[in-house]
């Protein structure tokens, strides 16, 4: 649009031969713009109604304080001050930070190795394996978490049978000191296949002549993978990293589902999102819950921005 405007403004005086040329181009442009708005309108309406308005309303809520005993008062940024000094919130943020530090490298490694292996294979087995690895992503998160709840169960889980063979008690996957690893496992299982597909399609987009060149230069399969393939798909790696980062900071569904069977390990403020949920729907503190949500949004923004800044040379997308 800006480039169109500058070209329109460029001719200082209309050339003699075409006196009516310029006005006609303006009206055509305006007409095109009207149609543009027309086509964008359905999306804009949904966007404004379903995203902007609720966000603005939630922000408005977060500026007020409603106590059970006293009703609503406007308190400005008090809720935010409270949020960033609230140990429950800060511990939650620290937990998801640690979670990101463990989970994201693990997830990326698993999906990258899988994608590289599948890219190198050409048998029919490769297509089958690709599908199998992708299936966990096709299972709804809630169902997946419930399923793992049963697998982790000391009573029904395979752990009980395997360890039972040796007359031992099953390790408790849902205890406070092991729940972290159990959750990492569920999330990796669910998402690694999806990230693998993203990386795999990026790998397929690489020009095969590069491989020939590498081969002529004497690079083996391993060297090709490390020196040619990985650098060429680095922008895709950044994409999945950002996806994983945002998803992990907003961690909610899996711990919320497993809470029913591991409540001693997963508290009402385990992650910031669970905390916001508990505040809103269990303690009826909608205002503070809104503030926690926005505070979490700030944290997610900061992390994502910081990360994109650090990888600005590698990411070709953002």
């Amino acid at each position: 649009m800006t480039s169109a405007d500058t070209t329109l403004a460029a001719p200082p005086a209309p050339p003699r031969g075409a006196p009516r040329g310029a006005p006609r181009r303006v009206s055509a442009h305006a007409r095109r713009q009207r149609w543009g708005w027309f086509f964008v309108a359905p999306f804009s309406a949904v966007f404004v109604l379903m995203l902007v308005v609720p966000l603005a309303y939630a922000f408005w809520l977060s500026l007020q304080t409603k106590t059970i005993a006293f009703g609503s008062t406007f308190t400005g940024l008090d809720n935010y001050v409270k949020a960033f000094t609230d140990p429950a919130f800060l511990e939650g943020v620290w937990l998801v930070t640690r979670f990101s530090l463990v989970l994201i490298p693990l997830q990326m490694l698993v999906s990258l190795v899988a994608a590289l292996v599948l890219d190198a294979l050409t048998s029919r087995f490769a297509a089958f394996a690709r599908l199998m690895m992708f299936i966990p992503y096709a299972i709804p998160v809630v169902i997946g978490a419930l399923m793992w709840g049963f697998l982790y169960s000391p009573q029904f889980g395979p752990g009980a049978q395997v360890f039972g063979l040796f007359g031992l008690d099953s390790p408790s996957f849902l205890a406070p000191d092991s729940i972290f690893g159990s959750l990492v496992n569920v999330v990796t299982w669910q998402w690694a296949g999806y990230y693998m597909i993203i990386l795999f399609s990026a790998l397929r987009g690489i020009d095969p002549t590069l491989y020939e060149a590498a081969k002529l230069d004497g690079a083996g399969a391993f060297q090709t993978a490390i020196r040619i393939k990985v650098p060429l798909i680095s922008s895709s790696l950044v994409v999945i990293l950002v996806f994983a980062l945002i998803g992990t900071l907003q961690f909610f569904t899996e711990p919320q589902i497993l809470r029913a069977v591991a409540s001693g390990a997963i508290s009402a403020s385990y992650t910031p999102n669970i905390y916001a949920y508990s505040l809103a729907f269990s303690y009826s503190q909608f205002n503070y819950a809104s503030a926690i949500s926005f505070a979490l949004g700030v944290v997610v923004f900061l992390f994502s921005y910081l990360f994109l800044f650090l990888t600005r040379k590698r990411n070709g997308v953002f």
Binding site: A69, S153, F156, F281
Partner: protein, 439 residues
């Protein structure tokens, strides 16, 4: 049937507010011309009760929706209250939730709608549980007087007598373990879903955690958790758990449910709805002989009866026609026919005296308990001895804290004394933050 539903929706609403849409009802409306009252509830066998009500009423019809069980329903109800629309006319609430919702002006005081006329139909304890100050915010439906359910076959096998005091109970737990039984005596849950159970056990020893009167002083709240009685009960269970004489499994999970029926627990410290819950579980062991006995006591000479769970019907402040809604709240479980369905199909424990005190209920024999008359043996005495309990408007927060601290205690991280202090401190500071003045 579909056309009948859609035609009455336009004519049958009655009030000027948006009428209830008959097609949203789970049940079938019998008298299409009568106004509809929407009800949220999750009682077992409730559809038959609703049908019974609808087929005997020309002036009003119940439109029933199951909006989820317990916390799931409260979440939805709470959201509709905050939003200002979308609540049903009548809502089923467990008694521990009434103060929280009444304080948010979500419930209608039934004093204006004939509450006094039905007060005599309920026991004093049941009536106290639905009252706050002078207000009456719900109509009692079912109760949870507590008793001890046990496996006669397991007790016989290991030669254990049914305990009548908590001391005997602890001795029985030791005896069972010494005899080499594969299971344990019972379970002490420390998760959120088990918090109300732990609260009842504490209450039996004299812990009255809250002092609150909505009518007199809605912003004054007394919190009295860190007491010798609280520490006594927590220490008692903590000892049993740490010696592995009782299990520490999360309640209402597939794991705990399986252990309830497969003989892993020889006893189930239960409320009167427990027998119905047990019968609904799959995979019971062969030859299980369940029996019921009164709840063990701290002091056998001065028995104290407590309650776990139980629910009521409240009229919401968004009700289109409050008077009609109050009629429904009072009327659904206000007949013998309805209660026979509730008792026989839903295994509910009635709080409505005409059926509670009837010979039918007293003499009812339960095949699951080998024909034992569990009501006259156990639960009727427990119900009549119950004096009521004061719940707080910060009940959910309190439950969360109690669950977290007792779980930490059961893992051996903190002592019972520290658990009691932590719960007290957390609830104190939360209540202050919420604008309550601590009494």
């Amino acid at each position: 049937m579909l056309t009948a539903c859609s035609s009455d929706a336009s004519t049958g609403g009655g009030g000027d507010a948006a009428p209830v849409d008959a097609s949203s009802c789970t049940n079938t409306i019998v008298n299409a011309d009568a106004p509809l009252v929407s009800v949220w509830a999750w009682y077992p066998a409730f559809e038959a009760v609703v049908d019974e009500f609808n087929s005997t009423h020309d002036d009003v019809q119940v439109c029933w929706t199951n909006a989820g069980q317990g916390q799931e329903e409260y979440t939805k109800f709470s959201t509709t209250i905050e939003a200002g629309s979308g609540a049903p006319d009548v809502v089923m609430l467990e008694t521990d939730q009434i103060n929280s919702f009444a304080l948010r002006d979500a419930l209608v005081d039934l004093n204006g709608f004939g509450a006094a006329d039905i007060e005599d139909d309920y026991t004093a304890g049941a009536w106290a549980d639905v009252s706050a100050g002078d207000g009456v915010y719900a109509v009692p439906v079912d109760g949870g007087p507590m008793g001890l359910l046990y496996r006669q076959d397991i007790l016989d096998q290991y030669g254990i007598a049914v305990p009548t005091t908590w001391d005997e109970f602890a001795a029985a737990a030791q005896q069972l373990k010494d005899a080499g039984a594969p299971g344990v005596l019972t379970n002490f849950p420390t998760n959120r879903d088990g918090a109300a159970f732990v609260q009842a056990l504490l209450n039996q020893a004299g812990v009255e955690p809250f002092d609150y009167d909505l009518g007199e002083s809605p912003t004054g709240l007394g919190v009295d958790i860190d007491t010798p009685d609280e520490v006594k009960v927590l220490t008692y269970w903590n000892d049993l758990v740490s010696k592995k004489l009782v299990a520490n499994d999360d309640a209402f999970t597939p794991d705990a449910n399986t252990k309830l029926v497969d003989g892993s627990y020889a006893m189930y410290v239960a409320a009167a709805w427990g027998p119905g819950y047990l019968q609904g579980l799959q995979g019971g062991s062969e030859g299980a002989q369940w029996r019921a006995a009164p709840l063990p006591q701290w002091d056998a000479s001065d028995p104290k009866q407590v309650n776990w769970g139980g629910s009521a019907f409240a009229v919401t402040s968004q009700a289109r026609d409050q008077e009609l809604a109050a009629e429904v709240a009072k009327g659904i479980f206000g007949t013998e026919a309805a209660w026979k369905i509730g008792i026989e199909q839903g295994a509910l424990f009635p709080l409505w005296k005409p059926i509670l005190e009837s010979d039918y209920f007293k003499d009812l024999e339960y095949p699951f308990f080998g024909g034992q008359q569990i009501n006259s043996d156990v639960f009727l005495a427990a119900a009549s001895g119950y004096e009521g309990f004061t719940y707080s408007p910060v009940q959910n927060y309190f439950y969360d804290q109690q669950a977290e601290q007792t779980a930490s205690m059961a893992r051996g991280e903190i002592t019972p004394e520290e658990a009691a202090t932590s719960i007290q401190d957390a609830v104190d500071s939360y209540a202050t933050e919420q604008g309550f003045e601590l009494k």
